[in-house]
Symmetry: C2
Subunit: 168 residues, 2 copies
DNA sequence: CCGAATTTTCAAAATATACTGAAAGATAGA
DNA sequence: TCTATCTTTCAGTATATTTTGAAAATTCGG
């Protein structure tokens, strides 16, 4: 397979993959493109390569920057802004975990804390089932939260341990 | 907070949470409802509780059954079908991991294997960056795949280890 | 086998999400 | 400061996804 075709397949599949995880197709595709591009690219480069509008490109680059996955780069002598993606996949994963934890897991845990204190008689099976379920989700969530913190700090844990051997 | 209100908040937030992870709102809400319901429910119960149509209810229940998160239950003397959700959260998580691995991770790994064999001169920096990126994603993915297998088998690993202490 | 009860299907409608492109805003060199 | 270049915004449009509801299919007791 030729590079051009391989690149297209990678980008298109990465986009589809992203949509299964609540990430919009274009954002995932821009990320994929930058991941496999050796040099920083401009908005116009990206627009052209992916056949998308200026507005769309701009919006999704910004979002990628917010997620900490893409950086703005200024090349001396160039007026335009260039963009580049972090290539160390372990860092990419860590960054995504960090953000999703903050945006989704933590608010969910706060909610569960609140819901666990529902009024009512624990002998009522409806109350009991509700409290038990919420409580077990909360516990699992808290545990995951702690573990992910450890992973982010990249100091211990099996996952980091086994992966660090491969990547560092 | 009263049970009714708590239940509603749980269901509605679980639905919103799901959408961030590529799961449709209704499916997540039905799951949430069944999770906190002590007894099996019929389609009509669910329709009424969540104010959704028969078709929608039916389709999403089926999908939850496909995911292995909900079971059809036949109560003796009852013509209607009843539905119930697995309440053991660890089993729920394992089941979701198992399915997503099969549906998303494995196909992605197959693609990456193929793409890593792109033609071309490795000294060309475009080829090199492509191959390096694909290769590092593939390696991380393979590692994750193995680890998740272990987690599914629930026989070892930090995560299981630390969680099993809490849940079993 | 009949027919009422129940479940499933799916085309059409509703809703939610993403994308475009032109205009406004910002920036930097002359 | 002025102007050409580049970036950002956002209302309108397009696309994708979800939901409805009525009709078709299935099921089960008699």
């Amino acid at each position: 397979m030729k590079l051009t075709e391989a690149k297209q397949q990678f980008i298109s599949n990465w986009g589809a993959f992203g949509t299964h995880w609540g990430i919009n197709r274009t954002m995932a595709q821009i990320h994929a493109l930058l991941l496999v591009s050796p040099d920083p690219m401009t908005q116009d480069d990206i627009m052209e390569e992916l056949n998308i509008s200026r507005g769309n490109t701009n919006m999704n680059i910004r979002e990628l920057i917010n997620w900490g996955l893409v950086d703005r780069v200024l090349l001396s002598g160039e007026r335009k802004e260039f963009f580049t993606a972090e290539k160390d996949i372990w860092k990419v994963v860590t960054q995504i975990v960090k953000e999703r934890k903050k945006r989704e897991l933590e608010p969910m845990l706060q909610l569960l804390d609140k819901l666990e204190n529902v009024e009512g008689d624990k002998k009522d099976k409806h109350v009991k089932t509700f409290v038990d379920t919420v409580s077990s989700i909360r516990k699992l969530g808290r545990q995951a939260d702690k573990t992910l913190d450890r992973m982010i700090r990249a100091e211990e844990s099996w996952f980091v341990g086994s992966l660090i051997k491969i990547f560092k």
